[in-house]
Subunit: 341 residues, 2 copies
């Protein structure tokens, strides 16, 4: 260890081999847990590895194994406020936790525009990553095609728009939207509005779809006046709620397709002098942390992220290992009752 910042010369396989009194090949076998090694050899190597503080050079290894032990989380989003979305935060956290078990690393990539998507396509081809998890996908995004064509193992976070055979993990958003709305109906609410998510994202579409289905099943019709579109952000929710209040002052419930939006809606409602849940019942979606701390605490649909993120990595890993390409899972959502409805 030198005084200046010079990187200490890293030991190589040969040095370990020399010290352990075996060949490079044997060291490699030990390091890679090959069974074809005698106990003594193994111990000698392990001792040498420990003494030398040997760490394999990942580049050299990747060059021959064609594996990088790196997977990419790609955000198809014009980066504005995605990062602040608690849903994104949960995914990253869950993924990084699931990956901590393995020795895979998580590369975060954002694709602001077509040019960047192209850059990511290039990056993913040629084995710079072993696989990709794609989230925050929009209807027109070409990335799944590009990646699939390049043969890059791929798992989508959220089902694809078309029925294309690709692996994905999703929450049951349709079911969630339905349950939330049914709950509002069961409460005896008469004029139930909704703030949807963006309609170019599948979660936005599906939750809205579930809402409509519940309404129709109860013999009601979806009234256009009771629908406003948001963008999954708090500000967007506040705006949409204002729109709704403007058009339909008599509404007495609202299903909001994400918690951040619901928080925004809450604020608008309170600013307009409505009590929650007295005048207006509010049900959100996500069960984000903020749902517990906002005022009143939010009744919301929980999606089992704890289940979903390990599933994504599992599906991806399995695919990397040559498993099925289009295995998918849909996870159940459930209602978490708090004070807003």
């Amino acid at each position: 260890m030198t005084v200046s910042g010079t990187r200490t010369a890293a030991p190589t396989l040969d040095e370990v081999a020399l010290r352990a009194g075996v060949s490079r090949a044997t060291v490699s076998r030990v390091v890679n847990d090959s069974p074809r090694v005698s106990a003594e050899a193994r111990e000698a190597v392990q001792a040498a590895v420990a003494e030398l503080r040997y760490v394999p050079n990942r580049m050299a290894r990747s060059l021959v194994t064609r594996r990088t032990d790196t997977i990419a989380l790609v955000l198809s989003e014009p980066d504005t406020q995605v990062f602040s979305d608690p849903f994104f935060a949960s995914i990253v956290r869950g993924l990084s936790r699931a990956l901590a078990e393995t020795d895979l690393n998580l590369v975060l990539l954002t694709a602001r525009d077509a040019r960047e998507q192209e850059k990511i396509g290039r990056y993913a081809r040629r084995g710079h990553v072993d696989g990709v998890i794609l989230m925050s996908l929009h209807r027109e995004d070409q990335l799944p095609e590009v990646l699939a064509a390049a043969g890059v193992p791929l798992v989508l976070c959220g089902r694809p728009f078309d029925g294309r055979p690709v692996a994905y993990v999703d929450a049951d958003n349709v079911g969630g939207g339905r349950v939330a709305t049914e709950f509002l109906i069961a409460q005896g609410r008469r004029r139930i509005a909704t703030v949807t998510g963006p309609q170019d994202m599948i979660a936005g579409v599906d939750r809205f779809q579930g809402h409509r289905a519940a309404l129709e099943q109860a013999g009601r019709r979806l009234e256009p006046g009771l629908v406003a579109h948001g963008d999954f952000t708090e500000a967007g929710g506040a705006r949409a709620m204002a729109e709704l209040l403007d058009r339909e002052p008599g509404l007495d419930a609202v299903f909001v397709a994400s918690d951040p939006m619901a928080v925004g809606a809450l604020r608008t409602l309170q600013a307009a002098g409505r009590t929650v849940p007295g005048d207006v019942a509010v049900v959100g979606f996500d069960d984000a942390a903020v749902a517990q701390t906002c005022d009143p605490p939010l009744t919301t649909m929980a999606q089992p992220l704890d289940e979903m993120t390990p599933l994504m990595t599992e599906l991806l890993l399995q695919q990397i290992d040559g498993g099925p390409q289009a295995d998918s899972r849909v996870c159940a959502t459930h209602l978490v009752r708090r004070a807003s409805a």
Copy 2:
């Protein structure tokens, strides 16, 4: 392109060389923009590259150049809610934008505990990354030492606790705390409280320090009863504010060391029937997006993240290229007046 997901065999340097009718060495020169290549050779190679859709194999290149074109953003944090912190989100966004210009990639790593910090140390040694940006550092963290000892180029987001010579980029947190408090004093507020950040993080310490300095300069004393410690989260801010209100019902202003905490404080204040800014003036810190949307919009200290993230990458790149090891920058903060004070 085969029908199944088989990765199309990627062209290598040799194939390009063959097609262009030159040697491997020449192709490499063209790809790496070496000037020592004739115009014809360059054109021939470029044509071949385009036809073959050649992309260099990064692993092979890294093996010889000792560069990975990857930098790591390391979060030294028991991952709980860091990701939801808008400050973190802004840093990631800024960094990934700054890096988009180059062809560097951002690896996100979290170090939940000592074991993981060790893992990261191993990862960073042996050139798996060209450099590290370390954020969310706590007083006892060993990571800077480990990394510095390994000779890994390093830039801290926030100054180190001791005066150790290491590159960092920080906001002028002391100055910010002072300005915020002076502003409250100038308003004629008599009993000014503070909700601090965690005191094992430098930003928490410095902002508190600035607060105290302003008080003393105005001939006042820091009263322990007017100080509560938070953890930079909204829930923590709400809790601390409740504590404060409990101890000092007569307070008429509070400097809160982060915007998420300020939002929590706002909620507590309103729940306690205090008007803001009528009864209690509130000044936050960060100028996060939420500062504009909360009610009332938050008067807060802005730190110039737009300046800071490019600076971090610049400092790191410069260090990677063999530049100075301990160059640092402190960026000015400024007050953003909104409605809460």
